[in-house]
Symmetry: C2
Subunit: 225 residues, 2 copies
DNA sequence: TTCATCATTCGATCGTAATCGAACCATGAA
DNA sequence: TTCATGGTTCGATTACGATCGAATGATGAA
């Protein structure tokens, strides 16, 4: 037990209500200021600052300072993934109802998972992209095929957009409500960005829900054939 | 924040060193007695009993009473999955070295993940089974093909073995060291069982390491072509 | 410079969770 | 019955972490 990975340290960081509320507030991938996070958790600024320092120290959060504003965001997608898994367990305990996943149908349909699309539509995107051989590779190591790049270009995501990023291009992320995988990684992020820019979807304020317009969903399905 | 899934409750349960040590000790899928767990965590029986009651209450553990022995095991594979994810984060924080995953090469090669095989060999099994169309389906919903049942029968796993289980037959589990998927679910469990029975591999006591004999690994690779 | 705002640090308080000794309960063996 | 063992409950202690008021640092605007 000496120098092994200290799982309890990480879990304890998430295990405080104030901190977990702040982490949940960051699950949409945005960066929030200390005051906003204090608000989200319902605590004073001092207390928030204390907790944020701990989260920074544990490298669950990253901070970016702009003038007098300090912006905090999840340090990486792994943190978001851990929170999704814990959400899944917590839900199965408290909910105790037959169907898995979030209660709100809207959340189950489409939501943001750190910085990419999750829910029914997220799984649909991943499935269709696999079925049409736009993606290749088993398990978590997934790559875009040449055919896939053509399709992505049609929607405004180009290879050069991602070349200078250190993040893995594609990853899969286990979907909490669907119990299947959806697309994460830079491609997943850029894709969602395009959905927003094209007006196909927008994020409901203060929630993780992503709402597709009728037209937007139709366009998406058309793109996926 | 009223009645939503309480992620901090779950995380706080894992976030105590004594409890996390007990959970880690159970990651090999076996069921251990209260005394054994007290030992594993380095605490007295009373304290262990206190923690075990909390873990039961939070439904992270399940208890089975046999005479005066109380056996504890992880309540389900989701719990094991959550711990693997946290292990991954903790490792990336403390280790800070380039390569991901456990330090010990043996652990990276083959280890037990809740009740199935993980590590390089675990990923190999999954990849080969997919490549030969013994498994089908994208994401986490995976099924054994007719061709796959033939191959599984050759190694002693038959369809009838699993018919009366409520657990999903096949699941994929994200491998902490490899960052790829390996096979979980009942099939993954039965498969590992066969590896043990055939003497291809054995678990090193007090560790999660699974050691394949030279002959055993050769037999495994032959089975996978 | 002065002022307002955003954030962190300090200090003190408070509550609660972890711990263990001791007692108690249940089971199985003698 | 008695005894030994595995496990839980009770009670008291202890220590640590969360919280907030107040003070201190920054930054940007007037």
């Amino acid at each position: 037990m000496k120098d092994g990975p200290d799982i309890s340290r990480i879990a304890a960081l998430i295990g405080d209500p104030a901190r977990s509320n702040m982490l949940l507030a960051l699950m949409d991938g945005r960066a929030l200021t200390a005051s906003e996070l204090a608000d989200a958790a319902g605590i004073t600024k001092q207390t928030a600052s204390f907790h944020l320092a701990r989260l920074l120290d544990g490298a669950l959060l990253a901070r970016e300072i702009q003038g007098r504003h300090h912006y905090f965001r999840l340090d990486n997608a792994d943190v978001g993934h851990a929170i999704e898994v814990l959400l899944g367990i917590a839900e199965s305990r408290t909910g105790n109802r037959a169907r898995t996943g979030p209660k709100e149908p809207a959340l189950r349909k489409a939501r943001i998972c750190y910085d990419h699309l999750a829910g029914e539509l997220g799984v649909l995107v991943y499935d269709r992209m696999c079925a049409q051989r736009w993606l290749t590779g088993a398990g978590n190591e997934t790559f875009v095929t040449p055919k896939g790049w053509v399709a992505l270009k049609r929607i405004g995501v180009t290879k050069s957009d991602l070349s200078n990023s250190r993040r893995p291009q594609c990853k899969t992320c286990l979907d909490w409500s669907m119990r299947r995988h959806h697309l994460a990684g830079v491609v997943g992020q850029k894709l969602l960005e395009q959905f927003f820019e094209r007006g196909w979807a927008k994020q409901l304020p203060q929630t993780r829900i992503i709402e597709f317009s009728k037209k937007g969903e139709a366009s998406l399905r058309k793109w996926l054939n």
